[in-house]
Symmetry: C7
Amino acid sequence: MVDSPNRLVERMVGHRVTVRLKDGRQMAGKLRGLDEHMNLVLDEVDETTPERSRHLGTVVLRGSNLVSLHDPQGSAGPSA
Amino acid sequence: MVDSPNRLVERMVGHRVTVRLKDGRQMAGKLRGLDEHMNLVLDEVDETTPERSRHLGTVVLRGSNLVSLHDPQGSAGPSA
Amino acid sequence: MVDSPNRLVERMVGHRVTVRLKDGRQMAGKLRGLDEHMNLVLDEVDETTPERSRHLGTVVLRGSNLVSLHDPQGSAGPSA
Amino acid sequence: MVDSPNRLVERMVGHRVTVRLKDGRQMAGKLRGLDEHMNLVLDEVDETTPERSRHLGTVVLRGSNLVSLHDPQGSAGPSA
Amino acid sequence: MVDSPNRLVERMVGHRVTVRLKDGRQMAGKLRGLDEHMNLVLDEVDETTPERSRHLGTVVLRGSNLVSLHDPQGSAGPSA
Amino acid sequence: MVDSPNRLVERMVGHRVTVRLKDGRQMAGKLRGLDEHMNLVLDEVDETTPERSRHLGTVVLRGSNLVSLHDPQGSAGPSA
Amino acid sequence: MVDSPNRLVERMVGHRVTVRLKDGRQMAGKLRGLDEHMNLVLDEVDETTPERSRHLGTVVLRGSNLVSLHDPQGSAGPSA
């Protein structure tokens, strides 16, 4: 079964995901929206850098700065 | 509910937002306009770098240098 | 025999592959899906950086951050 | 009121603006022209780097190296 | 005689080539396939970094990370 | 008067210009040609790096590495 | 006389040229071919880095890594 990356990310909407950015920061938040460039909207975001952690609320992320995105609960598994 | 990043940013027009750039600087200002490349216009901008803070007035930002944008007041929540 | 890179990666779906990213991290996981930009979906991912190793579950990777991908078992050899 | 970044920059033609480049340099000059890639023409340019300051005359800047542009006098405010 | 880069690389299929990547690594392997973005498939790859050398098997390389490619045996010379 | 960057550079053909590249080098030479990507041809080029200076003759420069271009004599002023 | 960069490089085919890459390396070789992305084929290449020099034979170079190209003999002057 082949699963397209964009379709998988769409199935993650509503889930809490962890995103890593090119500048080394990591953000965890509830995925609220995305577009075809993988620009993302995350709610209730907690940002972590090597130095500190802070709460940011709603964040828009540019897809071009995204390295990876994962779903720590694994709740975006293949539909059975 | 899926919410497109561009639509969310459009709803933030008139709000004070915080923008992070690829070179590490951060700018806070009132969002006045944007385009489909996420080039932004901000008014009454305060710029913060690790070294200092200064007032810049109206600023045009290239979308290609944007990492993230957030709305500290959370005023861009989903329309109820 | 000329073998297109995308076709080869498609033949790797279901196999465990190792991916190297531009920021130096390496991820090993079962390839679940891909698209024409070589964005990838990997399951049961183990991430390795020079400093540490950790388990991440399902991960979506941006093709623009990919450097190389290989199949340690060589199971994606040319169809005989 | 939504104000497009390109339209705002067009309204700045004839004004003295300050431009920041990706390599950290800053240039102040009178905006003479621009195109849709935000390539700019500036006249009577003064360039400032962390090390020194110098006068350059007329300069063409590649939009791809632009980080931000601002109008210190705020003279490009919204038309009343 | 003008020889297009892609045509030359196609003539190298089946030969052992040496590829240099943007991150400084070098890979030597038998060229098995390529596409119009110069994404490559190499078999029996030996990877060399300034620190170490290791065997990787079959590797898919993103053309966007390629700096140069050469054929140490010169076997891809112009057809006589 | 709005003056397009490309048109201004075309008017500089035949003049001695100074070009700054992303890697910090600077080249001064007589502008002989250009294309729509701002790839440039310069004749009688003198290259300056922080370390040294040398004469290069005719040089083709990739527009994607250009940061800025200026005309020290100001001879490319607006046509009166 | 305006001379397009691509046309000039085409006229250099058969000449020995010196190419500088984004990673600081320099290659000198006989230009054998090119395409519209300025991907190049060079024969009898000598590579020079700040540390050492070595002979590479035939090399394919990605245009996206090219900074500049010049013809030390000046043999690609304008046709009289």
